[in-house]
Amino acid sequence: MPPVLSKPTEQPMETTVNTTAEGRPDFISIRDFSFFYGKKQALFDISLDIPERQVTAFIGPSGCGKSTLLRNLNRMNDLIDGIRHSGDIVVNGRSIYDPHIEVISLRKRVGMVFQKSNPFPKSIYENVVYPLRVSGQNKKSVLDETVERSLQGAALWDEVKDRLHESGLSLSGGQMQRLCIARAIANRPEILLMDEPCSALDPIATVKVEELIRELKQEFTIVIVTHNMQQATRCSDRTAFFYLGKLVEFDETPKIFSNPAQKQTEDYITGRFG
């Protein structure tokens, strides 16, 4: 078995330095994207632009395809057998399906936080530096610096700084999720994908993670999938509403929640179905 050696991104992406505070409006551009699990079509002709350094929320009832779309942004769906897609997803001007791009280097640019916290059975320290280690970074000073920065970024530093070498599994549920966030941002990705990051957390932990999301958008482009409408209003700038694999409406969050253009959207956010 040939080991697929991880290497630094072979072709560095053209870094479009965007000096405006708003950032690039089409940092992630999804174009006519359809997706199939075997014969079952999960997404239908999705087109939407996700702006840079903002929080974009995907909402919709269960099975509407919002998580599928999110997982396509870093090609995590590649691990599933029998998938296929049409259309394209362009991140920062370049298609993620470009055959010249290693899926590994894509994932290094796109961090991900999962619904259920999944720290490795390693120490807190090793959990955070894992993305660096797999990139071949083993310099202690860099790792130490990353651990502090990432854990501070995930608002966990003060709670764990004295026990960095204890198991990551010794933390509470909320702390574990923040540890996963710290791990996801450790390698300074451009995009942070969050798949219902708070659904397994208690309200206090949820508040902390939401505060964190609002802070993290200063640095990262965040896409969050949530079932919780309040959460979407609290922490997102833009909201996309999906229904049965189709994008129903995508607009500024206040507009979606106060004055949706579509009847379906209104029905969903007012709790008539979902």
Binding site: M1, S6, L79, M112, N118, F120, Y130, P131, A184
Partner: protein, 763 residues
């Protein structure tokens, strides 16, 4: 029916639907008791087996018991010899006039059996040839005569009766006529007879050897004729005091008054002094009080005046061409001045006595089997042929009988686990050899070569199996497309169910001869294929993604498998060419160069090359172990929670990094169990080892030599082991050691596994 109330099955009415039915409760109670009973039964039977094995083994380590039986007073005279029959029922003593005093143990009566020997003078020396059960008597006027006690056994009324019907041959003279014989001995090889007499007139001591050749006539009657008399006195340094002749009659050992021992060998009808040594040369008083051959007549036990006791054996010293005596064992001081040293007719035990001390010692294992203080000064003793009864004559001529209950004198910690200096060997070593060609062969029961063989077989099997099984499991669970996985795994599991006797048979009949011819090919394949695999993997990962994308992840084997097969085939056929270049050996006799690995290996390493060797065993036992390790490891790796793998992937780790950094550590407890179960299988594996090794109990790590494992030893030796004999019990001990070995492995494994599981638990 007017009342259409529905009732559930098992419920009579709607009212009692919340009650549990009596049957359910009854079955529940019964099953609880039944399972408890069954569990207890299982534990009891396992413990029972364990207790049984321990009971079988215990006698090997048990101290012997020597219990006094009865004492029979004898007429007061100076007896020249004390002998006994095989059963210890009718000991006899030689009286000064040459008649036999037969003692009946049962009745306590004594019977004087006068023989018309036709000798003049008193009997002054006597010797009993143990093999022939024949006595030679020497008289005060230089005569000698052979006497046979002729013990016969018969049944009468369900009891064994021993009869003694002594007969005597005609006396002859030896050496200086009329000179008193102070010591006499003879040996008989069948074709010749050697009689040696020590004569002393108070001033000079002379040693004379008479040789007789025996000719077989057609009538079947043996005719003895004198073949020369030799005066050995000039060859002996010092004044001779005692002589010893082995039963084979091919040499004479003469002990001088100063404690010097001369070893004279009879070769081509002539005597030569081969060796002269002083056993107690380091002591102030080097005089030898008593000395005697140990059963087998290869070792002599000496005891000094002060009670020191040493054994000297004949062996070829390092680089020597002749067998010489050398010290092999040394015993603690008796604590009294020894007066008697008698050996047995069954084993290497001997009784040393002096003053009021009696000590039963076993020469090979240097163990004192029994030592006791008796209330009388001892003067002579004899041990019955079956090593069951001991008769001790005290200084006031009372014969004391003892029962010896020592079924395994050759056993014990030292014999089973320690280095033992066996007769004929140039040094102490661990040895297993349970049977030999002759009656006086001494079985060697060291378990160390067997434990070594077990470890060696296991090591080579694991060396072969572990890398293959682990990597195969890793590939199958982490890299291979899942649809192939569901085919590969059951196939491997079928392999696990192959009977090991089939594998052993295959190894012995097919693989061993194949490997023997093709060792260089095998070496090339073993070294070459992994290198090819590593290189092609490296090359593949450096290919541009445009080429790589044609093969989906999990399908790479389509490219690599043919590549590996082709390279293995090429390397296999390159073997002979490789051999002709790398393994050339020059025959020292003819100077001819031959390219043969089988000759090259012994020439270069000095180690032997056997056809059925550890390589074959490792290879074949690997086949038995691989499926087990593979299946369990694969399960462990596949059971690593998917979220961890996706988390690692999402962090930008490659499949290999994920496998190595997340999957393997998380599954480490399971992998460890797999290795340990594989190890346990390899340790206990029997049939493959029995058939594919030479079952040679040697102790060397050489991969091209065989081994004998504990399990194979039990299989091989059990049909040869007499019930309750030392070998039989030793085999049980081997089984216990095997059990303890696997128990230790399993315990350590379980402790480590728990530790790993705690360390890498995922929830």
């Amino acid at each position: 029916m007017p009342n259409t109330k529905k009732t559930l099955p098992g419920h009579a009415t709607e009212q009692n639907r919340f009650e549990t039915s009596k049957l359910t409760l009854l079955v529940d109670r019964f099953m609880t008791v039944f399972i408890k009973f069954g569990g207890a039964l299982v534990i009891t039977s396992v413990l029972g087996i364990f207790v049984f094995i321990v009971l079988q083994i215990w006698p090997l380590f048990a101290p012997p018991s020597v219990t006094p039986l009865k004492s029979i007073p004898l007429p007061d005279t100076k007896y020249a010899l004390l002998g006994v029959d095989e059963w210890g029922a009718k000991p006899f003593l030689v009286e000064p006039d040459g008649s036999l005093l037969v003692v009946d143990y049962e009745t306590g009566e004594t019977q004087d059996q006068s023989l018309n020997l036709g000798i003049t003078g008193q009997v002054t020396a006597a010797f009993l040839n143990k093999r022939e059960q024949k006595i030679i008597l020497g008289t005060s006027n230089g005569q000698f005569v052979f006497v046979s006690p002729n013990h016969t056994s018969r049944e009468s009324g369900g009891r064994q009766i021993i009869d003694v019907n002594p007969t005597a041959e005609t006396p002859s003279s030896i050496g200086d006529p009329g000179m008193p014989i102070t010591d006499i001995a003879y040996g008989d090889s069948g074709s010749s007879k050697l009689i040696v007499a020590l004569q002393s007139d108070g001033e000079t001591n002379r040693v004379t050897a008479s040789l007789f050749k025996r000719k077989r006539s057609l009538m079947g009657k043996n005719k003895e004729e004198a073949a020369g008399t030799h005066d050995l006195t000039p060859m002996i340094p010092g004044r001779p005091e005692k002589i010893l002749v082995p039963v084979t009659g091919d040499s004479v050992v003469v002990i001088s008054e100063s404690g010097k021992v001369s070893y004279l060998v009879l070769a081509d009808g002539k005597f030569e002094l081969r060796q002269s040594f002083t056993p107690f040369g380091d002591l102030a008083n080097s005089h030898i009080n008593v000395a005697n051959f140990i059963f087998g007549d290869v070792s002599i036990a000496f005891a000094s005046d002060s009670g020191e006791n040493r054994i000297f054996s004949l062996f070829y010293p390092e680089g020597g061409k002749e067998r010489l005596f050398g010290i092999t064992h040394e015993f603690p001081n008796l604590g009294a001045s020894p007066v008697l040293l008698v050996s047995t007719l069954r084993n290497k035990a001997f009784l040393l006595g002096g003053g009021k001390e009696l000590s039963l010692r076993y020469s090979t294992t240097e163990s004192i089997r029994w030592q006791s203080r008796v209330p009388y000064p001892v003067s002579n003793a004899v041990i019955s042929g079956k090593y069951q009864r001991l008769a001790v004559l005290d200084s006031s001529n009372t014969l004391h009988f003892f029962q010896i209950d020592d079924p395994h004198p050759d056993s014990g910690w030292k014999a089973l686990f320690g280095k033992v200096w066996y007769e004929g060997a140039p040094g102490p070593k661990w040895d297993w050899q349970s049977t030999g060609g002759s009656d006086d062969f001494e079985p060697k029961y060291s378990l160390v070569p067997l434990i070594f063989g077990t470890l060696k077989g296991t090591l080579y099997a694991m060396l072969f199996a572990v890398p293959i099984a682990l990597l195969a499991a890793l590939y199958t669970s982490q890299f291979l497309d899942p649809r192939f996985r569901s085919t590969v795994k059951p196939t491997m599991e079928i392999m696990a169910s192959l009977p090991s006797v089939v594998l052993g048979f295959l190894a012995a009949i097919y693989i061993a001869p194949l490997i023997e011819r093709q060792v260089p090919s095998l070496l090339l394949v073993v070294v070459g294929v992994p290198i090819v695999a590593a290189f092609s993997g490296f090359f593949w990962s450096h290919l541009p993604i445009q080429i790589r994308k044609f093969i989906r992840p999990g399908w790479e084997w389509i490219v690599f498998l043919p590549l590996l097969f082709i390279s293995a085939g090429i390397l296999w056929y390159l073997g002979p060419a490789f051999e002709s270049v790398a393994f050339v050996v020059t025959d020292p006799a003819t100077g001819q160069k031959t390219a043969d690995f089988r000759a090259w290996w012994p020439a270069v390493t000095g180690a032997s090359y056997d056809q059925r060797n550890s390589l074959v065993v490792g290879f074949m036992m690997g086949f038995a172990v691989i499926p087990i390790i593979f299946t369990i490891t694969e399960d462990a790796l596949s059971n690593v929670p998917k979220p961890l793998i996706t988390a690692s992937m999402a962090c930008g780790a490659s499949r290999w990094q994920t496998a190595l950094r997340v999957v393997m550590p998380t599954a480490s407890a399971g992998i460890f169990s797999a290795l340990m179960i594989g190890l346990g299988r390899a340790v206990g594996e029997t049939m493959i080892v029995v058939m594919a090794t030479g079952n040679t109990p040697i102790m060397e790590w050489n991969i091209f030599s065989g081994m004998r494992t504990l399990s194979a030893n039990i299989a091989v030796e059990l049909p040869e082991a007499p019930h309750h004999a030392t070998l039989y019990r030793t085999l049980f001990l081997g089984a216990l050691v095997l059990f303890l070995l696997t128990f230790a492995i399993n315990t350590v494994a379980e402790v480590l596994r728990q530790h790993l599981r705690e360390k890498f638990k995922t929830t």
